[in-house]
Amino acid sequence: MWIYLVKRILLATIIVITAVTLLYSMILAVPGDPVTVLLGPRSTPEMRDTLRAQMGLDKPFYYQIGHFLLNVLQGDLGMDVFSNRPVSTIVFEQLPHTIILILASIGWAILIGVPLGCYSAIHRNSFVDKLTGVFSVGTIAIPSFVIALYALLIFAVELQWLPAIGAGTGGTLVDRIRHLILPALAVGLGWVGYLSRLVRASMLEVLGENHIRTARAFGLPEHVVIFRYALKIAILPTIALLGVGIGYLLSAAVFAEIVFARPGIGKLIYESVMTRNYPIVMGSVLITTIFFVASTMISDIINAGLDPRIRENL
């Protein structure tokens, strides 16, 4: 098992390093001079030169990448020119809100989606199965920010059941949860359908395999066949896709944070884009990418834990 672990961590670091290099080379490939972009046209040449030297932009390409990589490894993502606070602290202040939102959305999506998928796989073509089928295809397709806007319009603005703005920071726990419901609903709704379709499809495939027929031929109780023999295999592709799904969740979270004016990394990036503050943008994109690569790695490791075949093939 540990060989698999080492290999997987190695792969994750390589992806992160390539991501960093890609991001950084994107900055340098920009037609205009990043510094003028940053300081705006009215800035004097001296200001631009000092900033350029400060950011080491005058050095050769690979040196800058190497320098940037070294800083990243030490957790230093450079300084924010506007508030001259380190980028990493700014980004890490906002990250927890986004993570809470993502965990809440994926949480309720799993709690409802997975059992729904199992049920519709076991009771194929039943009323529930057909209903979830249509419901999931619909919710997967409709963009999450449209759902967010409609939810905001109906529940917050018209019916005013739930707060429309902010994350209720500083308020009581109940208050914070009330602020969390609508965004989590908007981000997670598509995932209920996605997970139920996924679990249903892989359950149906596994239930058709020979070893399940063997289990039934030995008269094992149906619940043992379903949960211990079938679900344990059927859940593997779902876990793998959950790891990858974090990327889509992060995108949906950006919209939810903007629509519901919640603090978080999405809102941070959005505002920095408006002010063309690319260090912050790059820093947050980098951190979200690392967060994404970590989550795919974790889901692969969980899969290896559950499936001996993955664990042992070198």
């Binding site: 039934r216 030995f218 094992l220």
Partner: protein, 329 residues
């Protein structure tokens, strides 16, 4: 034909159809066969003759689109076709157990052999340790080297031959009255097949269960089985003691099948005998005998009326007009 007191399993006039887009496929028609206690009955026939459908109907694990349109399967005094799901589950793995054809896919890939072999003993109220001991003992009997250590392994640690031995061990663990074997050695090499068949024969003498052994390999059937049932395109064309079938075959299909087997042809020949033509479409069946379009000795009556099951000699049945009318060739 009253109740056959001395047989473990009695299938009478079993007919099964499959609902397909092209219409109702009549997979089994009026199948009648019996399995005497502690005997090995060979169910032989070429692909598409319905021998696997018979096996799966006994354990009632048929595909969703299967419809039983008639007949009964009497096992230990009760008709399996009329059993409730719970009653069925009670006898599966306890009184009837089964070994499947493809060893690579018939064991759960993510559960250890230990889990799978102790799970199937859920009926015996003995503690886990005792269940493990019984599993280890049975694994040793089927020829798995150092079974105690191998118990913790997963299926992908074993070769095809080893996995089939494990399946046989699992099947015989509960001392069943009837073991169903669906071409268990077809996927294995010849030398391995010989070992497993030899081992199966020994275990059968020890466990005193009867075996219904499905195969398309005539040599295997001759060596292993006491009785033989020959099937063609969904019908039992001949049934009898192994010497009846191999030496005094009454049905033209059985005779042709035996002729075609290259192992039986003594002198070397450049031209191998074959049975020309194909199996008829089982959705819209031809009139008369099912083998009429390929039978070398076909005559007018064969094309009009279907022959009935006829006892050629005690315990030897065939379904052919030649047998009922003319003398046996």
């Amino acid at each position: 034909m009253g109740k056959d007191r001395n047989s473990v399993l009695d299938i009478r006039n079993l007919s099964i159809e499959f609902a397909t887009t092209r219409g109702r496929l009549k997979a089994l028609r009026d199948v009648t066969l019996s399995v005497p206690p502690e005997k090995i009955v060979g169910l032989v026939g070429e692909s598409g003759c319905g021998k696997s459908t018979v096996i799966f109907s006994i354990i009632h694990l048929l595909a969703e689109n299967a419809v039983v349109t008639g007949g009964e399967i009497e096992f230990e005094g009760r008709d399996i076709l009329k059993m409730s799901p719970n009653e069925l589950r009670a006898i599966r793995g306890d009184r009837i157990s089964m070994v499947f054809q493809d060893p690579m896919t018939s064991l759960n890939p993510v559960l250890s052999i230990d889990t799978q072999m102790t799970d199937i003993q859920y009926r015996a109220n003995i503690d886990m340790e005792e269940k493990r001991n019984r599993a280890v003992e049975m694994l040793a009997r089927v020829g798995i080297p150092d079974p105690r250590q191998r118990l913790a392994n997963y299926p992908h640690h074993f070769s095809g031959g080893m996995r089939q031995r494990i399946s046989i061990a699992m099947a015989l663990l509960a001392n069943p009255a009837l073991l169903l074997a669906d071409e268990p050695t077809t996927a294995l090499d010849a030398t391995l097949e010989a070992q497993i068949i030899h081992r199966l024969r020994q275990l059968q003498d020890m466990v005193h269960c009867s075996i219904l052994f499905v195969s398309h390999h005539l040599g295997l059937i001759a060596e292993l089985c006491d009785n033989v049932v020959v099937m063609y395109a969904g019908e039992v064309v001949e049934e009898g003691d192994v010497r009846d079938i191999f030496h005094r075959a009454a049905h033209p299909y059985t005779q042709a099948l035996l002729e075609c087997d290259p192992a039986r042809i003594k002198e070397k020949t450049r031209h191998l005998p074959t049975i020309p033509g194909d199996i008829p479409d089982l959705v819209n069946l031809p009139a008369g005998c099912i083998f009429s379009n390929r039978c070398p000795q076909v005559f007018s009556k064969c094309r009009t009326t279907a022959p009935q099951r006829f006892e050629v000699e005690p315990g030897h049945f065939a379904r052919c007009h030649l047998v009922t009318e003319g003398d046996v060739p």
